[in-house]
């Protein structure tokens, strides 16, 4: 049985009829849909166990704490992290990147350099611009090649004694490019720079193993891996995380507080002030358990098959340009394209009229749009429940738009 045939019944939202057609949801890179087990786990938590975590000395408080901390253990296993202390639960990828950038900002000096890439999502651009502005540091970017890969020959000369941070995406949210994380991290470490990887588009689609990636920080969101919104993961290598001063204060992140000073809590709670997203953590656990049951290798294979089919089908439509690396094994499960003579917003609106949900616009990657020389693109992205037939429906619809011009 194909993966989509197994998983489709698990996603209640796929029963939706949109504009008189069965929904074809091709926007999982923006936010994935949720399997029933995630929805049920969160409802069950609110109906049976909700209380605040960590200091509630009563049954519900203990249950909530255990459920919340279980999410950390599940994440640790899911990403192959060495210790649960290295797993900080955040509000999402953007929050995690801001957390790291804020903390590192306090260690930067005038003249330091932060290296990003031309294909970063704004959430891995703006926090570094802010950090640089605070410290008088500079943000520079590793260029991309014509076929949408990172230009590693240009990377090495950019990497110097002043490079303090190399922050880059694991999988581009537009081009789908899978970057050589381990190689970049090895070079960056040799130059004495800290590495921060935006894993938002990788975590939903491939097995993750922190030790083999070799980065210092890895960040992703729950809502893109079939879990709820409002929670995400920041993994940090313990010795690097230990050196960072927390930049957000509040309850739970301290051990002892006086009027004029405080002693920070241990990792990872030092970076989790205030009441955390508890129900969301329960949902995240259920999402990870779902993904593990299906198997990340199988999910990756399914994504590749759909991507290859989609690239071939769209490239065959006259007037359609497909962006990013040509070889499906070099990319994640996203395909950005444009239709000559049609603005991407119109493409998305016309496809929506046929019940097909795609993303359109600059995809929070304006520097990359400038590199591509476009105002925006349309983008389809896949999840475990998408079928080859849905790809064909998309291709037929796009061909219809193209021929109508």
């Amino acid at each position: 049985m194909r993966l989509d045939e197994i998983t489709r019944p698990d996603f209640p939202i796929l029963e939706r009829i949109v504009n008189d057609r069965p929904l074809v949801y091709l926007d999982s890179a923006a936010s994935s849909q949720k399997p029933r087990t995630v929805l049920e786990a969160m409802t069950r938590y609110y109906e049976r166990s909700h209380a605040n975590v960590h200091r509630s000395i009563h049954t519900l408080g203990e249950e909530a704490t255990e459920l919340y901390e279980t999410a950390r253990d599940r994440v640790q296993r899911f990403i192959g992290a060495g210790a649960r202390e290295e797993v900080v639960l955040t509000r999402g990828t953007t929050d995690g990147l801001n957390l790291v950038a804020d903390a590192i900002a306090h260690t930067l000096r005038r003249g330091d350099e932060i290296l990003i890439t031309e294909m970063e999502h704004h959430s891995n651009v703006i926090p570094w611009q802010m950090a640089a502005r605070l410290a008088g540091a500079t943000v520079r970017a590793i260029p991309i090649t014509a076929d949408g890969l990172l230009d590693l020959t240009a990377f090495q000369p950019l990497l110097g004694q002043r490079t303090r941070v190399v922050a880059f995406t694991h999988v581009s949210n537009v081009l789908g490019t899978i970057t050589p994380v381990a190689e970049i991290c090895r070079l960056a470490r040799a130059a004495g720079a800290v590495t921060v990887v935006d894993g938002a588009q990788a975590a939903p689609h491939m097995p993750l193993d922190m030790p083999s990636l070799g980065c210092d920080f890895y960040v992703f969101s729950s809502h893109k891996i079939l879990g709820p919104t409002g929670i995400g993961v920041l993994w940090g290598r313990r010795e690097v995380l230990e050196r960072l001063e927390p930049t957000r204060g509040g309850g739970e992140m301290i051990k002892e507080v006086w009027i004029d000073r405080a002693q920070w809590n241990d990792l990872p709670w030092r970076f989790e002030p205030g009441t955390p997203p508890i129900a969301e953590a329960v949902g995240l656990t259920a999402a990870i358990e779902y993904l593990e049951k299906v198997g990340m290798e199988r999910i990756q294979e399914h994504g590749r098959e759909l991507t290859a089919r989609c690239m071939a089908a769209l490239a065959a439509v006259p007037g359609v340009t497909v962006y990013g690396p040509r070889r499906p094994e070099q990319r994640g499960a996203v395909v950005a394209f444009s239709v000559a003579g049609l603005h991407p917003h119109d493409v998305a609106a016309l496809l929506d009229a046929e019940g097909i949900a795609v993303r359109a616009g600059h995809h929070c990657a304006q520097p990359l749009m400038r590199c591509l020389g476009v105002v925006g693109t349309s983008r389809v992205s896949f999840s475990v429940f998408n079928s080859p037939e849905e790809v064909d429906r998309l291709a037929t619809a796009v061909a219809g738009l193209s021929s109508a011009l």
Binding site: H343, P344, H345, D346, A349, V375
Partner: protein, 80 residues
């Protein structure tokens, strides 16, 4: 681009790389402001443009309708 003579807009033209709604809105705005005085043109509101467009515009696309009005305002601001 606005041509102004004797305090009135004698011609309004636009160049844009935009979606169908934004292009249509810009077209309507250009048509509606011709012959108006600066203050009358500034007073042009989204309701008037929607009246002419006669289309079902969703909330997420309202910015596509209003962008030409913002550009018009900026152009008039520069001129005044």
């Amino acid at each position: 681009m606005l041509h102004v003579g004797d305090g009135r807009i004698t011609a309004a033209r636009f160049l844009g790389d935009s979606c169908a709604i934004c292009t249509a809105s810009a077209d309507v705005v250009a048509e509606l402001v011709e012959g108006r005085r600066g203050a009358e043109a500034t007073a042009l509101g989204v309701a008037e443009v929607l009246d002419v467009l006669q289309a079902d515009i969703r909330p997420t696309r309202m910015r596509c309708v209003t962008l030409p009005l913002t550009v018009l305002g900026a152009a008039l601001g520069v001129k005044s």
